[in-house]
């Protein structure tokens, strides 16, 4: 990969220079102060986070496409003979659709035929997305505070460093006892243990893949719980996203909206009788919503949401 800003332009053949004494580019920019102007255009290359975000967005769109999502109107403009004006209109329409969070994909000729390789392709795009979002997660600022606050659609809660759990009702805080430790494979982690936990993706994956204990939640759910509902550091979150990239069965669904209308990228993990879906904000790596759906058995069709409006550190309750 190259950046135009730090690679010297050598686009003109030396022959040109010999024949005319000037490169083509120099001819194009033959006016007083051209060098000064070019120098004034120098910019820093994009940050890793900006690149990861752009990639994550496209991977989600590609995944949505490959999954054959056909939401919204079909934008498929004829290519030739379209006037500049019409092209602008199409672009504006597309922009409006994107702005509204509606993913529009043309679906001509997109019918999946090679169903055999489809799930593999999904696993791949999911891991690429997770690796990218890991980069986003790593670059979030390092926070601190006495309490971990979770602002959910159902209400606010606070967790102290000693794992005391508080809920706020009508402006009053109520202590609700001790929050259970977070589960990670064979480990039960409190706040302190979380801070001492490895951030190495390979080790985290190993923990996640440890054979389940009785009543264990899925490795996907374990990771998501830590990512969304715990004061895990940016480095640990980055490690967890990367570890998830190594989990078998995680699928990238594509760009979706959560129950409050916020757009994000959805990942799914199916178990025998249920499917867990998480929506990640590709800009920040924040978990927006977790949805658990029973797909078989007595509770089939039952859905529960956990919608994270915001989470973060604070020094006081209320």
């Amino acid at each position: 990969m190259s950046t135009y800003d730090d690679v010297e332009r050598t686009g003109m053949s030396t022959q040109d220079v010999e024949e005319t004494g000037m490169t083509e580019r120099a001819v194009l920019l033959d006016f007083p102060g051209a060098d000064e102007l070019v120098a004034a255009g120098r910019v820093e290359p994009p940050s890793a986070q900006a690149l990861a975000r752009a990639l994550a967005g496209i991977e989600a769109a590609v995944a949505g496409q490959e999954a054959g999502h056909k939401k919204g109107a079909v934008v498929s403009a004829p290519l030739r003979g379209m006037s500049g004006r019409r092209r602008v209109l199409v672009a504006l329409f597309t922009a409006a659709a994107v702005a509204a969070g509606v993913v529009t994909y043309a679906n001509t000729g997109e019918t999946p035929t090679d169903t055999g390789t489809r799930s593999e392709a999904h696993a791949d795009t999911a891991s690429v997305f997770l690796n990218d979002i890991s980069t986003v997660a790593a670059t979030q600022s390092v926070p601190s505070g006495k309490y971990w606050k979770m602002h959910l659609t159902v209400g606010d809660s606070y967790l102290s460093q000693s794992m005391d759990f508080y809920v706020v009702n009508d402006g009053k805080a109520y202590k609700k006892g001790r929050q259970p430790d977070w589960q990670l494979g064979p480990k039960d982690l409190d706040w302190k243990a979380l801070n001492q936990l490895t951030t190495d993706p390979a080790k985290l994956l190993q923990l996640l893949q440890t054979p389940p204990r009785p009543k264990s939640i899925s490795p996907f759910d374990q990771a998501v719980t830590l990512l969304g509902g715990s004061p895990a550091s940016p480095k640990l979150r980055a490690g967890l996203f990367k570890a998830m990239a190594g989990l078998k069965g995680v699928k990238l669904v594509g760009t979706v909206k959560d129950s409050t209308g916020r757009g994000g990228t959805a990942l799914e993990f199916a178990e025998a009788k249920s499917v867990g879906r998480v929506i990640v904000d590709p800009k920040t790596s924040s978990i927006l919503e977790y949805t658990f759906t029973w797909t078989a058995g007595a509770s089939k069709g039952k859905v529960t949401h956990q919608t994270y409006l915001s989470v973060g550190f604070t020094d006081k309750i209320g």
Binding site: M1, P32, A40, G41, A50, R53, V90
Partner: protein
Amino acid sequence: MKPDTRQHEERSDGAPDRDGDSDAQLTRSAAGDAAAFTPLVEAYSPALHGYFARRMPGAADDLLAEAWLQAFAARRTFDPSRGSARGWLFGVARNVLAQHLRRAGRQEAVPGREITDPWQAVDQRLDAAALAPALRRALAELPVEEREVLLLVSWEQLSPAEAAAAVGIPAGTARSRLHRARGRLRDRLAPTRPAGRHLSVTGDVA
């Protein structure tokens, strides 16, 4: 209009021998192989980000992500017989910037009025770079259309054909705009000299 393949052959800068690949990737992604699109993001993000960073420094990251989504959604409008992937991608970027400027200026989005000029931000950049006041003034006085092509060529290092594709005009028009812009700058800045003789002629970014 004939495709200007010569420009591609001469290029040995950022995405040198890859321009042909990029066209193919974009075409393939439009034909149904959506995953063929992803390598384009890696290849062109630095250039597109630069475009936004020069014109809308505070929003470059957002605009880059937005430009890629729009490029992906509109990938079927790419026609390799009409120009390179690069020119086309800059055209998408230009639209995204224009939308952003319209929103920011709360102007009415008037379809057909294509030029939305980021001059204010550009001028601030020139000011910050301590560009000679005479040059800055001369640039400010250029017609918007001419200045846009000039900046696409000098900053984005596009060929005139690519700049034309980005702006949505014929290549000849881009060349003549560039020609006129050069003429105006020479007139203003070096009226007594024979054009171009005393100047440093390398366009390279040192």
